[in-house]
């Protein structure tokens, strides 16, 4: 039927996000590094385990450490040990133009995979810091140009690894929740303007779906946290705290409703509360987390915004449709609930 097109569309989009979100592979990355020593002024070998690489004997592999923004240290030689294992040899000079001990970023590059990087990969320690001496005696490096390989692959991030795919499921649910609760506020306002009961029923059903989305958001976030942060919950993370508070405010909406007997008064008070709840939720979820000093969530606590480093174009391909798909899908659920509650009211009326 023509007026249900958006429901079918939501199903198609969500199917797409499930399939694309799970099947598209990750870019190559560096998993584990075992270095033979720490001190400068010696030859250090590093055994590197990689991910999603297809190294074969004879591949021309280059690697370098980023000492600082201007200085690189290229590996003197490299050996392919397996499809996802290589051995690098670094001739580390006695002096490094850096602090005493530092975890250096490692970049691997080869024609097959392009460049890929791991920050804080290799630790080097020097007894004395002499930056001038370091720069004066720095060995000549053969610069290798970084040629990026095209292809649709998701970014490889330490800590997250494959779980980066959760971005398409956990986050869109929160977005959908905000849209749904905005609609709930909208109908609450409409009820206050013109006290028609179906506006109140619409507000109630939308709020129900919104709260369910919020609970699912917390649950999925909890599972993701256990796998990446090592804990199901932490009160040290601002986003978790404010999300819990926002959800509690909306739980109270239902408790408030059940406390009032008179139908009209119930609807009126609930509508006012719903508006307050949304107005309170917006700064809680979006402003407060950006104000704190540190956070584990992207975009909050001084971390670069969610659009910047955390979301790249391949992720966007699935992430933006996911938001649209889950929002539409949630509105379908809300509409079903609304129609059911409306029918229930009508039937109750008939039997009174």
């Amino acid at each position: 039927m023509k007026k249900h097109w958006w429901k079918a569309l939501s199903v198609l989009i969500v199917l797409y996000t499930i399939i694309a979100g799970l099947i598209i592979p990750l870019k190559p990355g560096i998993l584990k590094i075992k270095q033979s020593g720490l001190n400068t002024g010696q030859i250090i070998t590093a055994e590197v385990n990689t991910y999603n690489t297809r190294y074969e004997n004879g591949d021309k592999l280059d690697a370098y450490l980023k000492i600082n923004d201007k200085v690189k240290l290229y590996s003197s030689s490299s050996k392919i040990l397996g499809k996802e294992k290589v051995e690098l040899t670094f001739d580390v000079p006695a002096y490094l133009p850096q602090v005493k001990s530092f975890d250096y970023t490692l970049i691997l590059v080869d024609p097959k995979h392009g460049p890929f990087v791991r920050p804080s990969a290799i630790t080097l320690k020097q007894d004395k810091v002499d930056i001038e001496q370091a720069l004066a005696t720095w060995p000549k490096q053969n610069e290798i140009p970084l040629k990026f390989i095209d292809g649709i692959k998701f970014p490889f991030r330490t800590i997250l690894y494959e779980s980066i795919r959760n971005t398409f499921y956990h986050v869109p649910m929160w977005f959908a929740m905000v849209f749904i609760l905005f609609a709930a506020m909208w109908y609450s306002i409409r009820y206050l303007v013109k006290p028609v009961f179906r506006f109140d029923i619409a507000a109630r059903s939308l709020t129900s779906i919104g709260v369910i989305l919020g609970i699912l958001g917390c649950l999925t976030g909890s599972v993701w946290a256990k796998g990446t942060w090592g804990t199901w919950w932490t009160f040290q993370e601002i986003k978790l705290n404010v999300s819990a508070i926002a959800l509690l405010i909306y739980f109270a909406y239902f408790i408030l409703r059940s406390a009032i007997q008179d139908e009209e008064q119930k609807a009126r008070v609930a509508s006012v509360y719903n508006i307050f709840a949304f107005v309170a939720m917006v700064p809680l979820l979006f402003v407060v987390p950006r104000m704190v000093a540190s956070s584990l969530h992207p975009g909050n606590g001084g971390n670069p915004g969610f659009g910047g480093e955390d979301l790249d174009n391949t992720l966007r391909m699935v992430f933006y449709p996911a938001i649209i798909g889950w929002t539409l899908f949630s509105f379908w659920l809300a509409e079903l609930l609304y129609r059911y509650q409306l029918l229930q009211e009508k039937m109750d009326e008939e039997f009174d």
Partner: protein
């Protein structure tokens, strides 16, 4: 400070769902679940439609 960066849940011997092709299995399972949920929703839609028709006729 850690010298080796440890991937907590995997060791070298384990084959990831991806490289072994088993990821398609996971996708299949999830799609089955999702289609099941959609089927239920369509059933609800139909039920609600017929009830709404009934109410309209009674009026």
């Amino acid at each position: 400070m850690l010298i080796t960066n440890v991937l907590s849940a995997q060791n070298e011997a384990k084959i990831s769902l991806h490289s072994s092709g088993k990821i398609y299995l996971v996708v299949g399972v999830l799609i089955t679940i999702f289609i099941g949920i959609i089927a239920f929703l369509i059933y609800l839609e139909r039920k609600l439609n017929s009830l709404e028709e009934q109410i309209k006729q009674d009026e």
